[in-house]
Symmetry: C2
Subunit: 118 residues, 2 copies
């Protein structure tokens, strides 16, 4: 397995490259919400339990920098910002779904109640 550099960072394999973009506690939950419809910042905040402003905004910014989502600001007061998924971001949805289904499968194996996810 050869190494490669991207934006000054060394990666050892494609899994690491992918997870550097999709990984962490919050990115996949965000993409999962945006796959169905546009969300305002405050809607994401309400929809994703436990996330703090700091985490929400940093993850949104990183997803935007990676081209997975797009941010549209409206010049109104109080402010309004809408986040939506891009075509590139849509490429990630099947992967998120695969991971999610695997999680549900593992949860079922461990006897964790799954009904909320069906």
């Amino acid at each position: 397995m050869p190494d490669f550099l991207y934006n000054g960072k060394a990666y050892y394999n494609p899994v690491e490259f992918a997870m550097d973009r999709l990984g962490g506690t919050w990115k996949m939950p965000i993409l999962w919400r945006l796959k169905d419809r546009v969300h305002r910042y405050s809607e994401l905040k309400k929809s994703i339990a436990h996330i703090s402003d700091k985490m929400l905004i940093t993850q949104l910014r990183e997803l935007e920098a990676d081209g997975f989502i797009r941010r549209e600001v409206f010049a109104v007061v109080p402010p309004k910002t809408e986040y939506s998924i891009t075509d590139k971001g849509r490429l990630a949805i099947p992967i998120v779904e695969t991971i999610r289904n695997f999680g549900i499968q593992l949860m079922a194996l461990e006897g964790i109640d799954i009904d909320d996810y069906k």
Copy 2:
């Protein structure tokens, strides 16, 4: 999205549950090797560039505790230990492959050379 507890830890969604088991720098590379054949500790060490003894052994232990791999010790000197994937671990392989393919796709989009992974 409801929370749930497992082994004293709170999870917010199935993705987090799955990634708690498959995530980190080394677990998927290990499973990816074991999918084809049994490996001795030293073979994994040689095969996975940059991994330290500490990381290799801790990740192997966690994968074993989660039932994804199995460890067989031979009573010989110098020691010999073989690691192999379990049926449960095999369930993870398609997920690893999906993530890996997505990583390759992203790398291609960024103009990173992909030939080594085909």
